[in-house]
Amino acid sequence: MLRLERRPQPSRAWVWAAPLLAVVLTMLAGGVLFAALGKDPVAAIRLIFWDPLFSQQFAAFSRPQLLVKAAPLILIAIGLAIGFRAGIWNIGAEGQYIIGALCAAAVAMAFFPSGPTDVRFLGLEFTMDSAPSRWWLFPLMVAAGAAGGFAWAMIPAILKTRFNTNEILVSLLLVYVAEKLLAAAAVGWLRSPEGAGFPGSRNLSRFPEAANLELIPNTGMHWGVVAAIIAVIFGYILLHRHMLGFHVQLAGQAPRAARFAGVAPARLVIFCLGLSGLMAGLAGMFEVAGPARMISIDFNVGYGFVAIIVAFLGRLHPVGILLAGFLMALTYIGGELAQFTLGLPSAAIQVFQGMLLFFLLALDMLSNYRIRLTSREVTP
């Protein structure tokens, strides 16, 4: 008879082997799924995981996309992982991402040049002799995006610390509120006056001082990628080289011990939710000013939720998240390729990503438990 025996310490080998094995199993199960949908499974898997990087035909377009898609995932997942380690579950990053983007876009629109020299701000019209360089606008948008995401995450944080309200439910419910705000902005207060009544804001790529342009042409490298790299380094230092990181781990693994060690639970909740909200808001800001170019009703594509998978797949470790972010970005890009060339439904990729998390959670058992073969005996 099979029996599970708890390991005194998680197996380090399995902690890192589990995600790799999960990816392999997901490919196999995904292949079965694609075959069931009437597609050639080998071709589909190759299209998702190989062609975006190495095919002559697609790589030129796909490779830059890898950075574009991975950056928001990594940025959001680093913030989430810090909270998850402390047992604080922010699952509303999607909402914080939207609000960050809305705040940043609102700042940009406030300074959008309506004529060659006129600037409208708060209903007032300033006429300038010559348009000065607004070098400060982009940093201001970054600050607005971060502040927006932070503020949105402060709602569950303060409700949790003040009223003991469950942060999981509140942060998630606020995603729906943020989506409605996004829709209201796209058809209302941020709608482009030149858009002939169609929903959607002005196009930020036509406003160089506010645009998050490619830093190196044809690489996909934009300021969000820079921010994601900084986040990985910052996350590593915080979690592995700083007292605060130790407190975060302690609070997650032994809450009572953490209290004796002087960790204030309320402050930790504020810190973890605030930081993850801030990073999700930043991701939204870089997205709206860069790849998305504008606020539209379908601006959010689920990065906030997929980042949860990225955080777990990366073992809540900054370097792991970096790798997992690229892998998930690959499934997005490869999924799109498979959609165009094989007619694979886009939902199939969502299923694929969900299966990956299932397999990962299942295989995690191997890092915490040993499987023992025992003869059936009467347990005392």
């Binding site: 599970l4 409700l159 309200t165 439910l169 509140v170 995603v175 409605k180 209201a184 939902a347």
Partner: protein, 314 residues
Amino acid sequence: MMGTMDLSSINPVVLAAALMVAATPILLAAIGELVVEKAGVLNLGVEGMMITGAITGFAFAVSTGNPYLGMLAAVAGGAGLALIFALLTQYLMANQVATGLALTLFGLGFSALLGQGYSGVSPPRTPRMDFGWLGDIPVLGPILFRHDPLVYVSLIIVAGVWWFLRYSRAGRILRAVGENHDAAHALGYRVRAVRVAAIAFGGACGGLGGAYLSLIRVPQWTEGMTAGAGWIALALVVFASWRPWRALLGAYLFGGIVTLQLTLQAAGWRIPVEYLAMAPYLVTIVVLVVISSGRARRTLSAPGSLGRPFHAAG
């Protein structure tokens, strides 16, 4: 009159009848989750189970032409997804919060995949119950006695769960498992088996709730049509402080708010639709705050072992 509100067009009888219909999907999902949590398990995948039930029920009803077969398929679909959760959390010891989220992410994708080709299709109609002369009673008749069968089924399930938890031996074992799984295990109760059964029941109810949306309330299939109903059901369990009748009360209060909001939209209130549509989520948050804070605090009534993993060492 354009743009102004015409309150006289709001009929309280129609409103009250619509309230029960609006409340039924989240009531079904919440009563299922209540049993799961009473057994000490937190399954955050309600949204995923609901949407899976919504599409399996819809697809089955359309292909067989029989809405009741569709509802059975929804029950099977919801329970099937819940059993994945049971396998992961009860046998492979996976984290319940993470697994619940995985269930929701997977369910949303899976339902979208199954639902291809079903958008724009009309499901077979579910006939309303005929209670004879009861339906002709003024005011009460249309409010209480002219609904589809599932409205009454949901009430029967609430009563059944109440009786089961309070008076049946199996119900007491389930509560013991939820309050203190180590003690229940020591007494010889099969903690895992009880929990797996509760999780499957929760999934079945969630699936049925989803099918109510796609087959009766809307009735149509659209991707992501549950729109957070599963999360609201989870909040409802907290609001109910794990008591079946309070879940019923909460669901109907909530149904009232949703109905009122839709009526105000239809009556042409000046607030843009997007802001009115926030109401259900904001109200849920406010209620959660009130319930979890201060003197009204009822977290003490949460099952003692809620969300904690059980691993029999002996």
